[in-house]
């Protein structure tokens, strides 16, 4: 069965180095999965295109169709690659707002590879002090490697000890392993009585439960 990797990219410019990093992570993860005999497809969500919808969702309480579709694609994927530029020491506001409009339970158990980019490598720990806690709170399961790309990683003065390519490869391997370990992701329908009552149960059980019986 083909697995699906959702890629959320919060880059604002075009071309965007956030998207470049996201694409490399996605490509490498597909390659790592293929090496394990698993076919995977990549499903990219560009938050820039959804920025107005995300704000409207924050204000009006519901997701317009394009945003709802993107949210559904993300929460039903087998793995998530989430990449944001670092703004003022943390994820961008747009990136956070997207995760704010997703049901807080919807990413439970989701393998996540975190990526971030910024002008200098001095921001690199933001992955671990700012972005990782977000996914921990959501009960997602971010792999231990996060991949940070500074502007220099794309140019001449790149890190020569652990170049970007090897960091991408390591993160991708961890995500691929996490996806391979799991069954394909099943999405629970919240309107299925089995989902909110428990399998085969009746409303009487809710009443009885309250009475301690």
């Amino acid at each position: 069965m083909t697995r699906r990797i959702a890629v959320v990219s919060a880059g604002l410019s075009n071309p965007s180095s956030t998207r470049m990093l996201a694409d490399r992570l996605a490509q490498a993860t597909v390659g790592e999965l293929r090496a394990r005999g698993i076919e995977a497809e990549v499903d990219v969500v560009e938050l820039r295109e959804l920025a107005h919808d995300i704000t409207n969702n924050l204000l009006a309480g519901f997701a317009p169709p394009a945003l709802e579709d993107a949210i559904n694609r993300v929460v039903s994927a087998d793995g998530l690659i989430a990449v944001t530029p670092i703004f003022s020491t943390s994820y961008s506001g747009l990136f956070k707002s997207f995760f704010d409009v997703i049901d807080p339970d919807a990413l439970t158990g989701m393998p996540v590879l975190i990526g971030a980019n910024a002008g200098t490598a001095r921001h690199s720990l933001a992955i671990d002090y700012a972005i990782r806690p977000l996914f921990a709170y959501l009960h997602a399961e971010p792999v231990s490697t996060g991949v940070f790309a500074a502007s220099s990683d794309w140019g001449a003065r790149a890190d020569e000890v652990r170049p970007l390519a090897s960091r991408v490869e390591r993160g991708a391997r961890e995500l691929a392993e996490a996806i391979a370990r799991r069954e394909p992701r099943a999405v629970v329908d919240p309107f299925d009585p089995d989902a909110f009552l428990g399998e085969g149960r009746s409303f009487g059980h809710l009443l009885g439960g309250l009475a301690g019986e």
Binding site: T55, N56, L58, L59, A60, G61, F62, P64, P65, P190, F191, P193, A195, F196, L197, S202, F203, G204, H205, L206, L207, G208, L210, A211, G212, E213
Partner: protein
């Protein structure tokens, strides 16, 4: 099919004049509005319950009783009654009282409230919102159905031999709808009891409410109350009209853009596309709402929101004239066409009394001289059954009835 309006009771600055009505003004206006609802030939007036500014409707039964005294046929309802933070004992008493005063022109929509802080104002905890709604409602049913209630639960002090007075008019409790915009357990609750389900149908795309209503209809049948098509569904809606649709858009836009709930968010055009809000000519409103049954199935009640976001009284009354004069008569006709015979009419007190008693006389509760000592003298009313109170009726009550038996 019943048509009417529902008000959230907001006191909002009119963005076109900068004027904010006083509480006194807005409360006088709501009475005028409710009376006009009857004058233009609509059936239902419903009002919300809120306990914080900018809303005024903290005491819905007071308002509804005052309106009931000045109308003759108008059904008085709520949108919604806070089943979570109100003591079910007080709800049982207040609404039975309102039933008597208005000749049974009362029903209720149960809801859980729209703001977190309201819970502690009444000694409750929002984290228990759903269990509160479930337990409180179960108690409310029991208070209306049984003359003498022994009860123990999680959220309020136990009751021993308690009688909620007055007893429901003609021995038939007010009809109850359950309102929810997102919680499947509430649709389940409505289905379990065979009550109505009301979808406010204002804020979100129809697909969302379709899922809730479909669930409610399926579970209504599951619990043995009838077919899915026989479940009792109410819908909200929102419209603003002028003869010429461009005039409607121009007049409503400032109110929309500054509205408390969705203002400064999606554009009026986007919001109209995504939600049932219809701003235009009466014919456009007719077309949009005649199609509601295609989305939700044949239903029993349609309420419109018309008096919010700072719209002045004069405008609201004009909207009611258009609704009652041009829109609702056509909708009544169109929604009656091809309506399957087995789809029930909207609930009324008279119909519910007839369903219980047929042509026989309805119960008229007359106290005994027990003087409040309900446990030893055979009962508080002359016709209170001497043996154990009657089990609640209907197959849906299997698990609950068993549980009560065990508890006793």
């Amino acid at each position: 099919m019943q048509f009417g309006i529902f008000s959230v009771s907001d006191i909002t600055r009119d963005p076109t004049t900068g004027e904010t009505p006083s509480e006194a003004q807005r409360i006088r206006d709501i009475v005028t509005i409710a009376k006009h609802v009857e004058e233009v030939g609509l059936d239902v007036f419903a009002i919300g319950e809120h306990h914080n500014p900018p809303f005024f409707s903290s005491s819905p039964t007071t308002t509804l009783a005052y309106i009931g005294a000045q109308t003759t046929n108008l059904i008085l309802s709520t949108a919604t009654t806070l089943i979570t933070t109100n003591d079910p004992v007080k709800i049982a008493e207040d609404y039975a009282m309102l039933q008597h005063l208005t000749g049974g022109r009362v029903d209720l929509v149960m809801g859980r409230g729209n703001t977190g802080p309201v819970y502690p104002w009444f000694g409750q905890d929002i984290r228990q919102g759903l269990p509160l709604a479930i337990e409180h409602y179960a108690l409310l049913r029991e208070l209306w159905e049984k003359d003498v209630v022994d009860w123990e639960g999680t959220f309020r002090t136990p009751l021993q031999g308690f009688t909620a007075t007055p007893r429901p008019l003609d021995g038939v409790a007010p009809f109850v709808w359950h309102g929810s915009i997102r919680t499947p357990e509430i649709a389940e609750q409505a289905a379990y009891y065979g009550d109505g389900f009301f979808a406010n149908n204002i804020f979100w795309p129809k697909e969302h409410y379709q899922r809730l209503i479909t669930l409610y209809r399926q579970r209504y049948a599951h619990y043995g109350h009838g077919t899915p098509e026989q479940a009792i569904v109410g819908l909200g809606g929102q419209a603003f009209m002028a003869k010429n649709s461009q005039d409607a858009v121009a007049a409503f836009r400032p109110y929309f853009d500054n509205a408390p709930v969705y203002g400064h968010g999606p554009s009026l055009e986007e919001f109209q596309e995504l939600t049932p809000l219809t701003v235009g000519s009466p014919q456009q409103v007719i077309d949009r709402y005649a199609a509601m049954r295609d989305h939700y199935g044949d239903y029993q009640r349609q309420l419109f929101l018309v008096d919010h976001a700072g719209l002045p009284l004069k405008t609201v009354l004009e909207q009611l004239d258009l609704l009652g004069g041009e829109v609702v008569p056509v909708l009544r006709r169109e929604l009656a066409e091809n309506r399957p015979a087995e789809v029930p009419d909207a609930p009324t007190h008279a119909a519910r009394v007839a369903a219980v008693y047929g042509d026989g006389p309805a119960r008229q509760a007359r106290p005994t001289s027990a003087g409040g000592n309900n446990l030893t003298v055979g009962g508080p009313y002359q016709d209170t059954p001497i043996a154990a109170p009657p089990a609640t009726s209907g197959s849906a009550f299997g698990p609950a009835a068993t549980q009560k038996e065990n508890a006793r």
